[in-house]
Symmetry: C2
């Protein structure tokens, strides 16, 4: 996330917390900033390491902050990576989908109504009440595909 988006995310979080009557403490702000500043999803212990620069911190510190940020919808958890990522549109609640590149590690958050809709429909057909849909697609992003395919089109050398 670039500097501008980051500042925007922090400001948005601050406003939303005020509206919701919850506290946007320095600790929580700091963790949100660290998550958003990263290019890729970050693990809880990576955040912890960064929190420890200058201060003292233990796992509960970061997990509590993350729990709060998750509840407020400011960050998402990627279950397949055990890692966290800043939300790109925290203003409104949403069920999003994540495209995770196994090559470069970058993640794109989608908010695709067709996917969400077909999932709702399928769930309803079985009488299931969907509350928290998790959609994470591992694969290769456009950028990394180009890299790889160009490499692949160079004269093939037989193995050995």
């Amino acid at each position: 996330m670039d500097e501008e988006s980051l500042q925007n995310a922090l400001k948005t979080a601050e406003i939303l917390c005020a509206q919701r009557g919850v506290r946007f403490t320095a600790q929580r702000r700091r963790v949100l900033e660290l998550v958003c500043r990263a290019e890729r999803p970050v693990g809880a212990y990576e955040i912890l390491d960064q929190l420890r620069e200058g201060a003292t911190a233990a796992p509960p510190t970061v997990y509590r902050a993350l729990d709060f940020l998750l509840e407020q919808g400011f960050v998402h958890k990627l279950e397949t990576l055990h890692a966290f990522i800043g939300c790109t549109h925290p203003e409104h609640p949403h069920a999003s989908q994540f495209l995770i590149c196994s090559d470069c590690g970058r993640v794109k958050e989608l908010e695709n109504e067709a996917i969400a809709g077909s999932l709702r429909t399928a769930a309803q057909e079985t009488g299931f009440k969907a509350e928290r849909p998790i959609i994470e697609v591992l694969g290769t992003c456009a950028h990394c595909r180009r890299k790889t395919e160009q490499a692949g089109t160079s004269p093939r050398v037989p193995l050995e």
Copy 2:
């Protein structure tokens, strides 16, 4: 999984392994049986506890067997639960969706083409090559909804 489905699953696994030229060892068979016999997804250490009844076993034992069964498509891993479940149609490779009841813990495996298709389309639009889609929906199954709603329709007692 009932006894008949279980026997069927084991037989199918055996045949597929023979076709594929891989070994369906006693260890792997045992783990598949334990996973399939369960009503709900089972964690690796639950399996381990059961393996330990009578024999000696350590984490790598169960994780290695599970890795094999996952590769062969005989079981699935539920990332949100850190648990494993027997596949209901291991004959053909597939990307399925899981409806996970937070109440009773039971899981239904869907193979819904509309969902898979809309996901493929959305991914392609961004140039992303989808390789492993993970779709897990937490919610409440039809059975548990009925239970809860009936309870809800009984005369409401104000809280405190």
